[in-house]
Symmetry: D3
Subunit: 340 residues, 6 copies
């Protein structure tokens, strides 16, 4: 059991039921999610001591977000109360040729307006083994780039491992801004996670021979990306998720874990999707679990990809699967026979 601290934004997620479009929705399903919160829930579900740190408004909606984490055993003691509002995002689930759609309404949230003094990183990292954040958090702007830097420095000083999912969000900042800020944070990062596009968007590192719109993927290209990231920033591990979008309903899904010039690729799953939002985060959650428990490189990427494969079959962002379920799939049991 590892003690992992995740830091970032948690939002209210609102989505119409089933495949209804926004303009048809008389109801929204409400859940709570965020890139780092999703990782914290994954880790708690695998039996780790996962803590989530953020700033939330001191009202019932902020409390709802806290409760959503507490129910899965995530430690929320480090969450600061205050500020104006809980960020919200709206998800419309796509199907077949119709893409899913996300509308963010996160500007002006309590965490976006947080101050450096809101967080006592020395105390937060007491007893911690691992610190995880994503590129979304500094992208929230305000003092968040500096807060992330504070966190990284403190973590490093205490021997806490650091993972970061690049998670580029073009609606939050430009590639230029991202490259500059992330470039300052990356030297602290031990494990760098990225999807097919992030390295290109943030650092201009392109996978040769790959076109994400056609689903054409070149293994060699991604090895090159990982090598470049690893060399430029000194990361111990670079992990990349490989999504092949056949349609909004069917995706291919795999991953690669690079270390010391060696790349391990997972098996590729063909997934009939229930809800793909949070898929990347669940990969991060699986990877941190695997690496913090000393898995071999191939086992680690297999675990992370199996975990995130399962996430695609689960509604809402949180990956509500156990370690045993992930291991069963990673071990090859993909037939989906009923468990009685």
């Amino acid at each position: 059991m590892a003690k992992v601290v995740c830091f970032g934004e948690i939002m209210m997620r609102l989505n119409p039921e089933g495949y209804l479009r926004f303009v048809q929705a008389g109801n929204f399903e409400a859940s709570y999610a965020g890139g780092e919160a999703n990782v914290a829930v994954s880790l708690a579900n695998y039996g780790n001591d996962a803590a989530f740190v953020t700033k939330l408004p001191d009202n019932d909606l902020g409390q709802c977000a806290i409760n959503s984490l507490r129910q899965f055993g995530v430690d929320t003691a480090g969450i600061v109360k205050g500020g104006p509002r809980l960020g919200i995002y709206f998800v419309e689930k796509g199907a077949s040729q119709r893409p899913s759609k996300v509308i963010y309404d996160r500007a002006g949230s309590s965490i976006a307006l947080a101050k450096r003094e809101d967080f006592d990183w020395d105390k937060i990292f007491e007893g911690a083994d691992w610190f995880h954040f994503t590129g979304i958090t500094p992208a929230l702007g305000g003092e968040n780039p500096q807060i992330c830097l504070d966190a990284c420095k403190t973590a490093k000083s205490k021997g806490v491992k650091i993972s970061c999912d690049l998670n580029f969000r073009k609606k939050l900042w430009t590639s230029e801004q991202a490259g500059k800020v992330m470039g300052e944070l990356m030297p602290y990062v031990d494990v760098c996670i990225a999807n097919e596009e992030d390295a290109a968007d943030v650092f201009g590192i392109h996978a040769e021979g790959t076109d994400i719109n056609t689903g054409k993927i070149s293994r060699e290209g991604y090895i090159g990306v990982a090598k470049e990231l690893s060399e430029r920033f000194g990361c111990e591990y670079v992990a990349v998720t490989l999504r092949g979008s056949i349609s909004a309903t069917d995706n291919k899904w795999a991953g690669m874990l690079y270390k010391d010039g060696q790349a391990c690729f997972s098996p590729e799953y063909l997934i009939h999707i229930v809800d793909r939002v949070g898929g990347g985060d669940s990969f991060g959650g699986g990877l941190i679990h695997a690496l913090s428990h000393g898995y071999e490189q191939q086992d680690a990427i297999n675990y992370a990809v199996a975990a995130s494969c399962l996430k695609h079959t689960i509604e809402h962002d949180y990956n509500l699967v156990s370690e045993a379920e992930v291991k069963s799939l990673a071990g090859g049991n993909a037939s989906g026979r009923v468990q009685r």
Copy 2:
């Protein structure tokens, strides 16, 4: 049929189903509402040519708000598209001794950030008979006080009647701010609408002998308030809603219409509440319909109070009743016998 222009904010309203508290809600019912939009829908339902003017973000959520108005026949051609977001508010329905709760998340909305040049009042008021706004709109801040003044001046210059519901919102501004801004707008207002507390909160005009928390209401006190408002600002009509809160489930409801020193009181209804949010707005909608159609003073207040009594029996903010239904109740048919 009168042509009425309403101007203000329309928001997404989210409420848990039934009597669930926020912390129990896995779903929110989504509807669209706002003080002036509610009036526009009331008026369209009575057969008027009602237009609603606002600024909405150019995304699916803004479109949802427009569609919610269009379905009832409200003219939305004057709505400006742009700006960052749709305001949201959350409603938790109370019951018995537990009060209803409203959480506003409206800061930074497209209308709050609107500019004077967004609205061409000359064009908007073409052919219009009536202009309605409430104290909420200037309270949104930014250029909205000035925009309201622009609208009032143009309306006045075109002979368009003006009604204003004071609608004080203490989370939007202070009594001092409200008094100053509303004091500048009131001289243009022909019909002033207020609830039991507004006149005191905005202009420091108190109803003697009344305590809204105990439900004790003095008719004389409200006549005094109306007289004072009428004299200070030259309003032709002053209308006041009189709510007696027995509990969150049962309310007494009545109203007064003052003109030229004469006050008419409606009958008082004892209401078993389905949803009381929008109750005051539905009073305004009924009153404007009555006055713009030349109702006698007593008939007008009776219509407005019957209309708003019915609103309390309807889910969400919009008052979805016809003129015939209001007239039936105003005419004394309150037994609720099944209409086959």
Copy 3:
């Protein structure tokens, strides 16, 4: 256990959820109901051998109606398949001062177009103790008046008791038509059931001193009505339901049973209504159960009124209560304490 045959129409009932108005409804709750079908279900729930006879279209919707009866143990073997459609009616639940609303869409239904030869009454009444129909069935028109006459004659010839609920529906026929047709059927009727208005609407027999809109009810007036009905048509029993509509939410409810010049009044219940549609039918169901089991006159009216009081607390038309539950209430246990 009595064997009771009920004959009439069963329709699909569609109502918006909760207190939503028709114009707000994106969903309808679907159930199946009809004046005589409701009685059959009541009787089956009390342990009787209840049969329902009608004509239904030979499609899935007709089957749904049959299944809804079968689930409560009603014998549907006598239902004829054929004809064009299942009748439908839409219910909008009122609240407080807003009345409930019913829209019928029953024209052209299979039963409305049924033929005399569709029903073999000799076979249907084999072993039967009781036959029940209401004024709605002949009001459906076509051959239905004659079919009802066929049924009454056969029942009479076999010594089967006959009850009829006058149930005047002004959207189906005029008072003149009703008076003529019902006047021919009534001589066969042993037990005549009516609400406050039926006797006046159908036969011009008015309860003196009563105004159903104000809720003012004169006991003497209803005794007079019963006496007149009894004398004019030779009914053994005349039963009248007495509804005092305080609002769409709160009703007073009582009943009277008249026989041989003697009138017994039930206690009056003050009901907080869940769903009042089917209330009158549940009175009929209770009464037939009581009379066919030899209850004393006072006990019979008490049972019928307690049964129908309970119906008002149950969603949809069918009165889903057991004999024990009715007896408990009729016995005075009205406190509603939890039964663990």
Copy 4:
């Protein structure tokens, strides 16, 4: 922006939730739809000035149908109020080897009983560019064949383009009746739309080498059908939808547009279906938009097929997609990647 008038029936559509069968349904989702109303909504969604003309009962259900159109901006001013009822149809969604099922309950609707004098076509077509109807409307019987002829003649006389979707419904009329009536209307039609079977059912024109039950489709056969239709009736365009039913869940979907001896085929989409009802209508909506905006023949069929491909991913009949979304898919973006 084209001004398009659509004429036909709009019904209430009731379907059980998800994949429930009729006999399992305790709830029905209620929406409003009809072959021509669906086209009107498509066109309004693409930014056109779409009007829908019909006759509806003057009750809340008729109003619901109007509201469903108004919310998407369809002009409903030309709808006539009156007549007995709103048509209804029930949809049970199929899956895999289980076909979807439709039960129509549309007989005796207000539009089926409409009179020629109900519609003032001169006024309706003021300023119009296009008139659309389908073979369903004359199939409703009564005066509808003549009303359609009135409309066609007036449209023609005013230079309004006319499109007609053959839309044969064997439950409404026979092939003989259809052939006779449609044969009189077709000479006015500029754009004829048909699915794989319509031409055979209505006019006995068969596609050689094709068996719709096996999914075997011969391109040459459909070119022959279009040529024959074009020559026989003088249509400028003939469009045919080509559905390959793999199962109730997975369909292949494509289309052909024929003009002057030249046939353009769209790409074929493999669709994982959300709701296929309304698929053909959405093809018509896309085609009218494309042709009325001067698209090239290949672009037009591509737009129409992409539009209707997307419809299959949307619940209920209306095709709630924007021009931009259709163009994105028509432009080749079929991977369904999340749009953030």
Copy 5:
């Protein structure tokens, strides 16, 4: 029409909506099901006179189970009331690589604790043509093995055909226990039904060349299994279902019917699954219908497999399809085209 008696347990089935996991469920869909009850409903739906025999608690939940059977016309007169509780089982629907999950909470149910004297088999089998039970019933323990033996002996003595689905449940008993008990019952069985694993689990009879986890199936292996079962116990027919689990969403499905050394295989269906629980039972229901109506061997297996293929497209356990629907699919109509 055959008269078939089914004997076993009926439980409340609770499943979260859609693809929600147990830990996400704030609601459970409630239905009623059981291996033999499912067969009874299938048979009633095909028009047979199906009776279900069990013991149920004398409370509202037992009544719910009875009502669920009665609605489809199953004769429940033979159900004994008494004992402590209704068994429950919870189903979580899987998707793609995530398997479905079943949690049984059936211990201590009224049927598990039933006594031999509860059932008067002589009376139960009056007029019966067929008796069906499964291996689950004796596995419930207590006196159930003996009760099954009583039933078999009585049935045999009356010339009633007996079918048994081995249905091994490892949570109820061990292979050793099953082998011993079933070994005593099998000599009475005319038609033995098994899935891919049952014969191995219960009697140690393995299908050579088959691995159910990889989906690899050897036809020869299953013929060997059937031959062995037939010879060991003297069954007239042995039927085996053949499931190929591609994923929790997509399965291949076929079956084999063996008689007198001759094996007939059905076509194989590729099924996109709606709900696969009850799939095996629906095979039994189809097979009994076919064999009791004198179908040829190939027709019988085709009917049984088509019936159970359709079950996979229907929510909950009961197979709600008609004989016509099964015949249509068995006849080759698998394209799922809409039936209007």
Copy 6:
């Protein structure tokens, strides 16, 4: 902030939606509840460090129960995993004259079968201020009476205050059994809580002049009961809830707190009920909070009654109100005005 340990059973609660009866329910709302768990949640909501101790099956349903507690911040670290099943109870909400109905299905649950060695009370009470249990726990039988005694002895030895709600359940044990077991536990109890009937049912101590079925309540009678309980067992406090059942919808609600011969009565609330199950537990939760925080006797009973008054307005068992909300009502703010 007090640290309070609660011990007992937590069950799955299943109730039909709204006012549906069991026989109408196609869905059950699932929540988790139990006499002592409800108290733990109350206390956590008031900001205390509340822990809940029980034994739960090691499956997803047990986990659901844990999650339901964790979401509100209850410490579940002391919960033991193992045993066969989670207890269940079914609730049917009554209305007006129809009582609510509870069906327990709790026999054989993991906690009912727990062993003394499952619980290490020395460790559980580390740092604890208060221990709470109810009469339900020993009534579960098996070793539970002895486990409760173990807990009481350890608590006493560590200076932990002990409260017990008598909570007699006639379906779990007889008055004789209860009297014997509770008589052994009561000497350890500092704060004894009872409803109107418990003292009579468990110890034969009757309130003179009171009839709970008629709602007639004698204050003197309850003072006598409290005096007797206090003297017989040496309790410091005796608290009694006083419910006046007007109907299933409307109740009067008050309470009394007795100490040293002095009885304080709270104000009486007239409650329009949303859900009354858990009402008594919420009284206990309020009382423990008040007494553990040193409230005066009158303030304590006022807090406890206000807290439990609010519970009646909240769906499901848990009392989801904050200390501020309770204080507001206890302070006299009962008008239910909207909180914006």
